[in-house]
Amino acid sequence: MIEVQHPGIYSSVQDLGRFGNRRFGVPLSGVMDKEMAIAANLILGNPGSTAVLEFASPGPRLFFSKPAIIAVAGAATTVRVNGEEVNTESPILVETNSLISFGRATAGVWSYLSVKGGILSPEVLGSRSFFPGVTKSGRIEAGDILEVATLSELSTQEVAWGDKLPQIEIYAEVQVYPGPEFSMLSEIQKLAILESEYEVSPQSNRMATLVHTSRIVKVPEITTGPVQPGTVQVTPSGKMVVLMRDAQTTGGYSRVLQLSDIGFSQITRISPGKKFRFGLLQ
């Protein structure tokens, strides 16, 4: 098991999401950067859907009271075991009573810690993903105990010890489709949205990424309709909001763009203050 000594700034257990209850207003949740979380699982021989610990920088400080094999993917960060920096390119063997800590992320936003066999926090409505009001809490807290699968000789053999984890790639362009209301925009508004340079706001979280631009477009509200992670909404006052994994299931702002799955992973890696553009897929 893992004891949380320090929770870090924004850490939670996530899998690929809570499917089947969005019609009851339950957000999808799940990891922000699917590609990186899945990579961290596969290298350990876990199914890609196994629950992992997601964290932003500065990360948590974790005490492992039993041996475990872990992998860390996503935002570039150093990993220390009992204070000693270790190689993060491949799986890491953690011995009994080890303290794991992380350095500041130097590229990207979200990191993923996978554990051989998975993190076994309680499954609620078919998912282990944290979401406040559905699970006990939205984030891990100091003193929390995270159950993990017990390591066996057999499971140790499933680990791809020689493989290397993919390095995070940061993009300046985020892939999008036209959203349901895109066709209702004027040509000038469309151009402004597609040609503008955007900056990610530090107020962003797992519900929404706020983006700023100098070319404000204002779009009237719509009759409340379905939204999903990756929906890009514009408010009547011209604020642009990209919905993330913990977003509500319906919304009343105009849905001008919709990120592709690849575009979604791309935007999760852009740090606050960094700039990007949208690249329209047809």
Partner: protein, 236 residues
Amino acid sequence: MQPTIVKFGDNGILFRWPEAFNEETHYEILSLDAFLQKKYGDAINETVLAYTSLAAFLKESLDTDEFINDFEWPQLDTVEVNLETVTYVVPVCYEPHFAMDLPRVAEHCGMKEEEVILLHTSVTYDVRFIGFLPGFPYLSGLDRRLYTPRIEEPRKFIEKGSVGIGGKQTGIYTMNSPGGWNIIGKCPLNLFDINNSPPSLFRPGDKLVFKAISMEEFERIGSLADRGNFEIKKLL
């Protein structure tokens, strides 16, 4: 009226009806939802309903464009919707302790507070869909005379169970949440419970009426509900 169908992201499909909302649209959305579950249940992960649209999210292995091309439209008026429409009696305490905005609503609507409560409890509301918060019912049927603009500065914290009026809408906050509606009462029930299947008491297509209760009843029902011992009344 047949909706339009468009791709909504890599795995999503959006069915849209004309914006003007009416009874017929509501019924057609419920019909299409029932049809999708019956005919395409294996291909669709889940659906999300709203006032004039319905989103279907496909299994990731499927090709969304292909699904749209091959989609076989049902005759929506002939789809059998096996809806056990339940009408729930939802207890609400409208006492001043829970009704911080009742005076404001009464003043805006030019009536006495008792008249606001009377109008609010004399209508059968339709649950159009669930959204905004887990279990939060979007209702239609609010008496026009109670339409009241939202408060100017949304509050950072509205307690679970609070009943509010926002513009033309009324509803119940099913969880603690920020919110901008005028709070006129509080319901002692747990309307969203992860131990129930489904976790939301209300489903699209259900109906509800509000029943005014005293502080004493609020306390009594609340403590029963917290122990899972309160059976909500249903009208036949």
